[in-house]
């Protein structure tokens, strides 16, 4: 498709057909002669020569057809170009070819059209120039006639112009009283005269109005200047007052800031007191608990002392009983001591009897000696026991005395402990009261701290507001200064306006205006109306 489209874009149908037919024919003969060469043993060279011959033939024919066309196309293009060169812009070299020759023909034709259009344009311009030249000729003739008429009119115009110039010179010097005649029979002169008359009348009216207006302006400017001076002074005073007020407000704001700081410190102190009070209340509770515990322990101590007292009583009883027993032992010891003495006697008697019995009584004498020894030991032991019991009784006596002393002390201790318990009870009650008071103090300090903080916040807000007021006061003072400055400028300009108005009035007084109250004035009349 691409090859086909490329060929279609490049060649016309006729050329494409010729090329295709040539190609097909050449291939057909090539196939035929190749088949012949394959079939015939000696047909290779003739077939090759025949094929080349056919190929040459076809190429030649194709060359004649296409080459002839190309030559003809180029000849046409050359002829067309030569015709165009000779000025024949109708000569065309149309070609239906799509290749470069066709493009060249199209380009040449486009160039021809462009040249034709340019030439047509040139011809049209030439005709227009000739028409313009003709118009210019006729215009020149008309201008000659007009010039003669113009010269005649010019003389009259000069006369009137001189009159008008004189009037203008007079008007330029400020004298508007002169009037020009309007019957010169020259429309322009009459219109100029009418215009001059109207102008001088209007100028007279305008100058009169300007003079009146200048007087009003001067008066008004003076009033404005005076007012501006008053406003300026007032604003300057106001600015000073506002600035002083702002300074006071700034001072108060500083004091409020200090108050805020102190209030904040007070609030912190109150909060610290509250904290301490809370701590004291806590300690009071602990003291109350300790007091209760102490009271309980006092009661326990009293009970213990009383039980000790009871034990001492019991011990005294026992000691009494011991003393009695000791007395009984002492009596028993004395009995045993008697028994030991009797035993010793009995042993002595037995020795005596044994000695009399000689040998038969030797054994008995041994027993009697033993009994005697035992009796002596019993005697010794009893002596010891008696000594011990005596010591014991003495100590029991000491104990009894000591116990009496102890009981007295215990009773004194019971009294003391009881007093201490009562004191602790009183202390506990006092601590409870202190605790309640501390709670009240804590609540009060909390409330006081909160109130103090609120006061500090409020004072701070007031301080900020005061700062804002001070800032705005400064701005207001600046604005008042600015206003005063502006009013000063207004005053200056009003004074300048007064000066200029004076100058204007001086200038206007140099004009001599016409009396415009009369509706019709004769030409050349002069109505003096000095400003």
């Amino acid at each position: 498709m691409r090859l086909e489209s490329t060929i279609g874009e490049k060649y016309s149908l006729r050329v494409g057909t010729a090329i295709g037919l040539t190609l097909v024919t050449t291939l057909a003969f090539g196939v035929l002669l190749t088949a012949y060469a394959a079939a015939a043993a000696t047909g290779t060279v003739p077939a090759l020569v025949g094929t080349l011959f056919v190929l040459t033939l076809n190429m030649g024919l194709l060359g004649i057809v296409l080459g002839g066309n190309v030559a003809v196309e180029f000849r046409e293009l050359i002829d067309a170009a030569e015709s165009i060169e000779d000025g024949d812009l109708e000569a065309t070299a149309d070609s239906n070819r799509r290749d470069e020759i066709g493009q060249l023909a199209a380009t040449l034709d486009s160039m021809r059209r462009s040249l034709k259009e340019a030439l047509d344009e040139s011809e049209r311009a030439k005709r227009e120039a000739e028409a313009a030249r003709s118009d210019a000729e006729s215009a020149r003739e008309r201008a000659e006639a007009a010039r003669a008429e113009s010269e005649r009119r010019n003389e009259r115009l000069l006369e009137h112009a001189d009159e008008i110039g004189t009037a203008m010179t007079t008007a330029a010097s400020g004298d508007f009283r002169r009037r020009l005649s309007t019957d010169a029979d020259i429309d322009a002169i009459d219109r100029i005269a009418e215009g001059y008359n109207e102008m001088t009348r209007d100028l007279s009216e305008t100058i009169d109005e300007l003079a009146a207006f200048a007087a009003d302006v001067e008066e008004t400017s003076e009033a404005v200047a005076n007012d501006a001076t008053a406003v300026e002074e007032l604003n300057e005073s106001l600015a000073a007052d506002i600035r002083a007020l702002a300074d006071d407000v700034v001072s108060q704001a500083d004091q409020l800031e200090a108050t805020v700081a102190e209030t904040s410190d007070l609030s912190a102190t109150i909060e610290e007191v509250a904290s301490t009070t809370d701590e004291v209340a806590g300690r009071t509770v602990e003291a109350t608990e300790i007091g209760d515990e102490g009271a309980e322990r006092v009661e326990a101590a009293v009970d213990t002392v009383r039980s000790v007292e009871d034990a001492i009583d019991d011990l005294a009883t026992l000691i009494d009983e011991l003393d009695d027993r000791m007395a009984a032992v002492e009596s028993t010891t004395e009995l045993v001591d008697d028994i030991a003495d009797q035993t010793n006697l009995l042993a002595l008697n037995a020795n005596v009897e044994a000695a009399r019995a000689n040998e038969a009584g030797s054994g008995f004498a041994v027993v009697a000696n033993e009994v005697k020894a035992l009796s002596e030991e019993s005697q010794t032991a009893i002596d010891d026991i008696g000594s011990i019991i005596a010591d014991a009784r003495a100590e029991v006596d000491d104990v009894t005395a000591e116990m009496a002393t102890t009981r007295e002390r215990i009773e004194a201790g019971v009294d003391t402990v009881t007093d201490a318990g009562e004191t602790i009870q009183d202390l506990t009650e006092t601590v409870d009261e202190v605790d309640a008071a501390m709670e009240d103090i804590a609540r009060a300090t909390d409330n006081g701290a909160a109130a103090t903080e609120e006061v500090a916040s409020t004072v701070q807000s007031v301080g900020e507001a005061a700062t804002d007021v001070a800032d705005r006061s400064h701005d207001l003072a600046d604005a008042a200064d600015e206003t005063a400055k502006t009013m000063g400028e207004v005053r200056s300009r009003a004074e300048d306006l007064v000066d200029r108005t004076n100058d204007l009035r001086d200038t206007l007084e140099t004009f001599e205006t016409r009396d415009t109250t009369a509706s019709h004035e004769p030409a050349g009349a002069v109505g003096v109306n000095d400003v």
């Binding site: 003969f29 079939a39 020569v49 025949g50 040459t56 000849r75």
Partner: protein, 244 residues
């Protein structure tokens, strides 16, 4: 399969088909050009007949080892001469000039046929006649005949220019072909193939070319396509202005 008779038979079929086609085509042409077209159709018809005769071996003259088909020779003598004359007539050449062309071409083809049967100097002379005749034809076409063509319309001059070039090229190739046959570069089958192809191009191609440009012939302002025109002087050849 590869027999010369088959080639002639096939060319006969081509001629027959072309004859019918041209005959049908000629009915749509104007009477002014139909006569010329009939001459061309007649040449195609004769070629068809002679091809069939040649395929059948009828009319073959044998002299020694060489042979020549007489109907084919007659066909060539008629066709080449008439076509050359037509090419000259398309340029508006005079009758004498056209007759000269016809005679020269006739002599050339006859001399070429003679080379088949003669040897030596005679054969060389016959070949020289062919070559000189060809040069003479070229000279006439490029000289006086082209000067006559300058008086034609651009399209007609282009038609003549193309017809002349076609004839000269085909005839030149025919001469080259004859030389190739003369030096035995081609065998009988290839000779028959190439010869038939050239003949078909001469007759059918030429006829088709003129049929396709019948409108150009008809546009002749003078209305005398084959009429004698006054001859002009010599001069160089330039391509015609109008393309066909």
């Amino acid at each position: 399969m590869f027999e010369s008779a088959a080639v002639y038979a096939a060319s006969g079929v081509v001629y027959a088909l072309a004859f019918v086609a041209f005959l049908t085509w000629s009915r749509r042409l104007s009477p002014r050009v139909r006569r010329m077209c009939h001459v061309l159709i007649a040449l195609v018809g004769i070629a068809a007949v002679t091809s069939v005769l040649n395929a059948a071996g009828v009319g073959t003259i044998t002299y020694g080892a060489e042979s020549e088909n007489l109907p084919d020779l007659i066909d060539d003598l008629l066709a080449y001469s008439i076509l050359c004359g037509l090419a000259g007539a398309l340029a508006g050449a005079s009758r004498r000039l056209v007759a000269t062309l016809v005679a020269v071409v006739f002599l050339m083809r006859a001399s070429f046929a003679a080379t088949t049967f003669v040897d030596g100097v005679v054969a060389i002379g016959a070949v020289l006649v062919v070559l000189v005749g060809y040069a003479a034809v070229v000279f006439l076409f490029a000289g006086r005949i082209w000067e006559n063509a300058a008086q034609l319309s651009d399209r007609q001059r282009l038609l003549h220019w193309k017809a002349r070039n076609l004839f000269l090229f085909l005839f030149g190739m025919l001469i080259v072909f004859g030389v190739a046959v003369f030096v035995d570069l081609l065998d009988p089958f290839v000779t028959a193939v190439v010869k038939c192809y050239i003949d078909v191009l001469f007759r059918v191609g030429f006829a088709g070319f003129l049929f396709a440009n019948a409108s150009v012939i008809e546009d002749d302002a003078s209305g005398a396509l084959l009429a004698e025109r006054p001859g002009g002087g010599g001069g160089g050849e330039t391509p015609p202005k109008a393309a066909t």
